[in-house]
Each structure stands twice: as C-alpha cells, then as structure tokens.
C-alpha cells in the first residue's frame, strides 16, 4: 500500500503544458512585434543620420551627396537601404565630385570593426575614416581615432588603381610602428597592433574590390543626378 510520502505527484496533461508554452510564446511574440514596429523607423533614421554624419566627416569639402549601388553592369543611383556595397559620392556647392565614401569591415581584437573611409579618385588617396562600429579595448584599440601619428597615415594613403588589371597598384598593408617607408603603408600604433592590422586589411579588401569600380564609373559619379 502506498503512503502519502512515496506517492509520485501527478503530471499535468501534455495539453496543459503545450497551452501554457503556446500562450506565453504568443504574448511574447505580440510584444516583440509591437515594439519592433514602433522602433523600426526610429532605428532606420538613427542609422541614416549616423551614415550621413560619417560621410560628411570623411568628405569635409562635400555639401551634398548621392548614393550609388554596385550592379552587374556598373553603378546605379540608389538609396541607403540597398543591399550590397554602396558608393557614397560627395559634391561641393558647384556639384563637382570631391570624393567618395566607402564601407570597410574586418575582424578586430574583440569583434568586427566597421568603418567608412574617404577616397579621392583624382589623387588616388584615402584621406580619412570614421569608425561606425567598434568594441576594441579602451585605451588601446580605440587609439585608432585619436592617435595623431596613426591619423597622419591618412593625410594621403596611396590606393591608386592599376587600370589594366583593375586592382590596386600596391597592396595596402600595416607595418610595424616606425618602419613605414611607402605611401601605401600604414604605420601601426605601438600596443594596438591587432586593431592597426585590421584597418590595413579592411582598407585593402575594400580598395581591391571597390576602387576599380569607382574608376571605371568615374564619369557617372561626376555627372551626379543627371
């Protein structure tokens, strides 16, 4: 005969368990969708403003800009939401092309670093960058935005295109601090080698892919909205 002490508690029916989980999942789904729908336009606007700020930072002479997307046959006017690589063209008051802003990304010390950099097709120089996303170590990896010697690399980092092979003439690479001898080399920050290398790597990858496209479609970029 069983005593109350050794009685196994009765399990609730599967229906009850499934109903509970289903109901909680429904409430959860409803809440997530409501907040997602509410915040979606605000987040999109924040991202647009952040991109806009970055473009005008890397192209300081620009007063207006256009976005182009890379297509199979060249480039086409687009909005910022288009998928794939985008080319942001900056224009001055007379609507002359002052440069293009391009995206680049590579794995840093902690996570992927994403940045936007300015490229001047007329001189073949990378003239500056703005970090869009970085979780690098404070005091070390974060120096890429404040170290004056490192930023001096971008007064004119050579990234010219070999028009016959449609690649960069020289591979952009990061070299050990104090050993830079060429205009396409980046002098690393002492103590932030991984982040410095990531910058070199991402600029080279992006440059090899996008700079030839920019040069091939320079006329289209210069025409602007036409």
């Amino acid at each position: 005969m069983s005593t109350p002490e050794n009685q196994v508690p009765e399990l609730p029916s599967s229906t009850k368990l499934i109903t509970t989980l289903g109901l909680v999942a429904m409430i959860s789904g409803l809440l997530v969708v409501l907040v997602y729908e509410f915040t979606k336009p605000i987040i999109a606007e924040n991202q647009r403003l952040a991109t806009e700020r970055a473009i005008f930072k890397v192209l300081p002479k620009a007063t207006s800009r256009l976005t182009f997307k890379v297509t199979a046959t060249g480039i086409a006017l687009s909005d910022d939401k288009a998928n794939g690589p985008l080319i942001y063209a900056g224009y001055d008051d007379q609507l002359n092309l002052v440069g293009v802003a391009l995206n680049a990304a590579a794995q840093g010390y902690q996570d992927t670093i994403k940045l936007l950099y300015g490229y001047q097709p007329s001189t073949g120089c990378i003239t500056g960058f703005d970090v869009l996303k970085s979780t690098e170590t404070p005091g070390f990896g974060t120096k890429i935005t404040s170290d004056e010697d490192f930023l001096a690399n971008f007064n004119c980092l050579e990234a010219k295109v070999n028009t016959t092979q449609m690649t960069l003439m020289q591979v952009i690479k990061t070299v050990r601090h104090g050993t830079k001898t060429q205009a396409w080399e980046i002098d690393a920050i002492s103590g932030s080698t991984i982040t410095s290398n990531a910058i070199g790597r991402m600029l080279n990858q992006s440059g090899q892919r996008l700079h030839p496209i920019v040069m091939q479609n320079l006329n289209r970029l210069e025409k602007g909205k036409e």
């Binding site: 959860s28 005091g139 070390f140």
Partner: protein, 222 residues
C-alpha cells in the same frame, strides 16, 4: 491531501531596500558578475546596463508573478526564459532607437541579459511565489542595487582609468591615466576593493552591535 497554503508576508519597506544594500545582488549575492566586470569601464555604460537590467527585471518579474498560478512547474524555467528573452529583445530595440552609439558600445552584453542569473534567480525564487506588487517592488530594489553596484565600479574605473567622470575631465591633463583600470583586470581589482571595503564596514557594524548587546546584557544582569 492538499498542501497547507502559506500566508504571504506583508509588503514592507524592507522588500524594497533589501536589494539595495542588505542583499545587494553584486556585493552580497555575487550574481550577474559578467556584465559587472565587462561593461563598467565608464559610468554611462554602467548606467545604461543598469537601467536595461531594471527594465527586464521589473517587467519579467511582473509577468512571471501574474502567470504564477497558471504555469505548471514542469515548464516553468522554459516559460521564464521566454519571458526574460522577450523583454531583453524589447530593451535591445529600445536602446538602438535611443542611441546607436550607446548600443554599439554595450555590444553583446545587452543580449546577454537573458542569461543574467540575477534575473532568472529572482523570477524563480521570488516572483513565482509572491504577488505582482511585491515582485515589482522587490525587482525595483534589486535592480537599483545592481545599478548602484555597476555605477560604483564604473565611477572608480572611469576616474582612475581615464581621469574623467561621465565624460567630463576631472583630473588635470598632467594626470597619467591608469589604463589597467578600464581593461578587464581593472574590473576585478575594483570589485575586490569594493568588496573589501563593504565587508569591513559590515564587520565593524556587527562587532559594534555585539559589544552593545553584551554591555546591555551585563547591565541587566547586575
């Protein structure tokens, strides 16, 4: 035979204040130490993580308490995780809407609030056994205690590691920042120092209480 129904204790101020000092989740219970060590390299990051945790803690505790008589105990942990994950997703969207910069700085730690043992612990140990109001009040106290601990760590680390507080320069430019303080080891060092200080204060308080009681006892005896 049905189990005797326990009478619920009344709502007192102690329910709220316990989480702030006596049962502080960081300094006493040592819960949720991952974000405590990871994001406290500045006051603003600490505050943002604290507020996000308060939101998730209060909302999840309220919903768990509301549904406590409805959730079978066999699926309670799964249900709690779904509820907590929901509010973490909401807070994730909200921070992106408030500031993308802050969202990027906090990185994956916002999403990792899902696995913060403080939140699941309060849902299981408190909200599932108490009324909605008591659960919310307790969650508020615990959340404020958690935020207080984060800011205490963040303040010291930002001050010594960058010479700033809330982004404002406090020390002169001649001050050489102790970079180690904003690196991961700095989190352990500052947490250790705060624990040392708080335990010292608590021990002194206890010793004083014992002395007073002993003196009182001897007076009554004589």
């Amino acid at each position: 035979m049905s189990q005797p129904i326990k009478k619920e204790t009344p709502l007192t101020l102690d329910v709220f204040t316990a989480g702030i000092w006596k049962d502080n989740p960081v300094f006493v219970m040592m819960l949720g130490l991952c974000p405590v060590l990871a994001v406290t390299n500045s006051v603003i990051n600490s505050l943002a993580m604290g507020i996000a945790s308060i939101f998730v803690l209060v909302c999840s505790n309220a919903l768990v308490s509301m549904l406590r008589n409805f959730i079978p105990k066999q699926v309670r942990i799964t249900t709690y995780i779904i509820i907590i994950a929901t509010f973490v997703t909401l807070v994730d969207y909200m921070i992106q809407a408030i500031s993308l910069d802050l969202y990027n700085r906090l990185g994956a730690f916002i999403q990792l609030i899902v696995v913060n043992c403080l939140i699941l612990g309060r849902a299981e140990a408190y909200a599932s056994k108490n009324s909605v109001i008591k659960s919310v009040v307790s969650a508020l106290g615990m959340g404020l205690g958690f935020t207080l601990a984060l800011v205490m760590l963040g303040g010291v680390r930002e001050l010594l590691g960058a010479g700033q507080l809330l982004g404002y320069q406090v020390f002169s430019t001649q001050f050489e920042p102790w970079v180690v303080m904003i690196l991961p080891p700095g989190g352990f060092i500052v947490l250790g120092c705060w624990l040392l200080l708080i335990n010292y204060i608590e021990q002194r308080k206890t010793a004083k209480l014992i002395t007073t009681e002993a003196a009182l006892h001897s007076t009554v005896k004589s």
